[in-house]
Amino acid sequence: MTTRQSLSLTVVAVATRTEPDGHPDIPRLPGFVESTFNPLLFDVAQRCLTAAPGDPSRTAVVLGGLMGDSTTFDLTSQRMVAGQVHNPLLFMQATSNSVLGYLSREFGITGPMSCLSVSGGLAGELLLAADLVLDTAEVDRVLLLGVELAANERTGHAYRLLADSGGQVGPPVADVAVALLVERGAGPVEITSIGAAEDLGGAPAPGGYGSVQGLVHLALGCTGSGAPGTTTLVHDPTAPAEQAVVELTHRDAALDKGPEA
């Protein structure tokens, strides 16, 4: 990489849900209906937090994506346009805050929680956000979450408009979720920098994960077979040029892939 921003993050757990045929086995989440967004998010978050338990009072959560819970938004809007009464359950899950509130209750998380919509380079932005959050005295680790739902009629049109104006993010082939739990200090896989793509060797990794493409690649890189002391360059094809590559350094054995990674 020719230009880079140094980072000092250690990945302590990852989890993904990337099945191209959907998620028929995803457990339901009490109080949440209709949309897969919330159960998917909870699934990957739970697996990370269970794999690497820590102090929930010193844990932060940052959720990212592009469209958010489009299923809930569009269902609400469609019902309204059709003259149907609003569903109070959809009101309860009207923002992604709600499922983060559920997560925080289940795991006792009292640290900061945030939700972001980013039009490109989500992986880099979440890593930079984690780096900032970890600068505060109150936080030891950050759970980074990415969730994007497959396109529906409305978001499909929005994706086409974005592409027409030069956007790099397309829809995922299926609903997808990914989580990475990061902290400071030494560990098996360290994220050492974000930088430009000039020196990227080989072909870009396969796509299909929409806005969370870079995060999925990052998770796969962390669970890959990098020998101790080697580095892996993870490409986020949705990112602006100066943030297109994340550099991983393998200090020890790879992270456990987990059942779905």
Binding site: G68, F73, D74, F91, M92, L100, I109, V118, R154, A158
Partner: protein, 378 residues
């Protein structure tokens, strides 16, 4: 120890109008801006009132006006490498128009990130663009993120914003959740409070390194000396009854600024006028300030502007800034009857003169998210 962070410009637009004079004439005079909604048919709903600007303005245009005002005040109208951090859940009106009228170029504005990208492009703000979507704390979270970027030296100047304009989908959702007040008044902390009312709002603040502002010859309006972000770990939609997360956020902000309870001259509360929020917020402030809370004036300016959703944090930041600049406390309007569960000084008599050095602005949201931002005189 990071760099000192100051505010050098702002823009604001509520149902009272655009700019600081409208806020002074409306919010600080305790005038509630609620009126029957004309933007859509409210007959299917229980509620019918909100605080809206005239007509059916475009969300992007209202936000753009505030950006223009803020950049002009800060002397940065030429744009530059400034990040643009926005609190906004997207233009829900665009989603409704898609399902009602079919696809159009406007459909893309239902995507939150697109709103930030469009505005940043228009004003040549070439730094990063992030859109916070965490509901009623979204724009407060954007300001806090901006503070972190400036304090850490990752950016010299950041433009932080929030916007929400009333539309039918959100109105209907809150109506279905029985959260809307039916008596046309938002009565925060009053025993007869019946719920919230929504409102239009947008605000933009320019924050920057004090050293950079000084070198530019810019006069800081205030310093941001502390902030807190914390969660309740309690419920998906209800606040913790003890105001747990809110208290954690306030304690963090005080600790960061090195300020004790006696240092706070005013608290701009989240104060939604719902039974659960207002008592929880009172309990959270009691938990932090103890008996000292009796001497700290607290008001909810949502009683005049309505609940501005994702714009709440930014607009109430500006209101708190004006309180600090003018040495006047904005009142809580609509208050009629003391509630034993809400036993603080809520500035119910009208605007009050004060000698302010530090003010605190609070917000809370679904999922138990809480923010506190501490402003100090420069």
């Amino acid at each position: 120890m990071g760099r000192e962070v100051v505010v050098t410009g702002f823009g604001v637009h509520t149902a009272h109008g655009r700019g600081a004079p409208a806020v002074r004439d409306g919010v600080f005079a305790g005038k509630a801006a609620f009126a029957p909604v004309t933007r859509f048919d409210t007959s299917p709903y229980r509620g019918s009132v909100a605080a809206t600007v005239p007509g059916d303005p475009e969300l992007l245009e209202v936000l753009a006006g505030c950006v223009e005002d803020a950049l002009t005040m800060a002397g940065r109208a030429d744009g530059g490498d400034m990040p643009f951090l926005l609190g906004c859940l997207g233009d829900f009106g665009a989603i409704t128009r898609f399902w009602r009228d079919g696809p159009s170029a406007d459909t893309v504005n239902g995507t939150p990130a697109v709103v930030a990208d469009t505005i940043a492009d228009r004003f040549s703000l070439r730094g990063k663009r992030l859109t916070y979507t965490n509901a009623c704390v979204a724009s407060a979270a954007a300001i806090i993120h901006g503070w972190q970027l400036v304090s850490s030296g990752r950016a010299d100047t950041v433009v932080c914003a929030g916007v929400y304009l009333l539309e039918e989908a959100t109105f209907g959702q809150f109506d279905s959740g029985l959260a809307i007040s039916l008596d046309s008044t938002l009565r925060p902390f009053s025993a007869d409070r019946r719920g919230m009312l929504l409102g239009d709002g947008a605000a933009v603040v320019v924050i920057e390194s004090a050293d950079v502002a000084r070198r530019r010859g810019s006069t800081p309006l205030a310093r941001i000396t502390g902030w807190g972000l914390a969660s309740d770990a309690y419920h998906i939609a209800k606040p913790h009854p003890d105001g747990k997360g809110l208290a954690l956020a306030v304690e963090q902000a005080l600790r960061m600024s090195g300020t004790g309870p006696e240092g706070i001259g005013y608290v701009n509360a989240h104060g939604t006028g719902t039974r659960l929020n207002d008592s929880a917020e009172t309990n959270g402030l009691r938990a932090v300030f103890g008996a000292s809370a009796d001497a700290i004036p607290v008001s909810s300016t949502k009683s005049t502007t309505g609940h501005l959703m994702a714009a709440s944090g930014a607009v109430e930041f500006v209101i708190s800034l004006l309180a600090l600049m003018d040495n006047v406390l904005p009142p809580t309007a609509g208050y009629t009857t003391p509630d034993p569960a809400c036993d603080l000084d809520y500035v119910t008599e009208g605007p009050r003169a004060a000698d302010l050095r530090r003010v605190l602005t609070l917000n809370a949201a679904f999922g138990g998210m809480n923010t506190a931002i501490l402003l100090e005189s420069p």
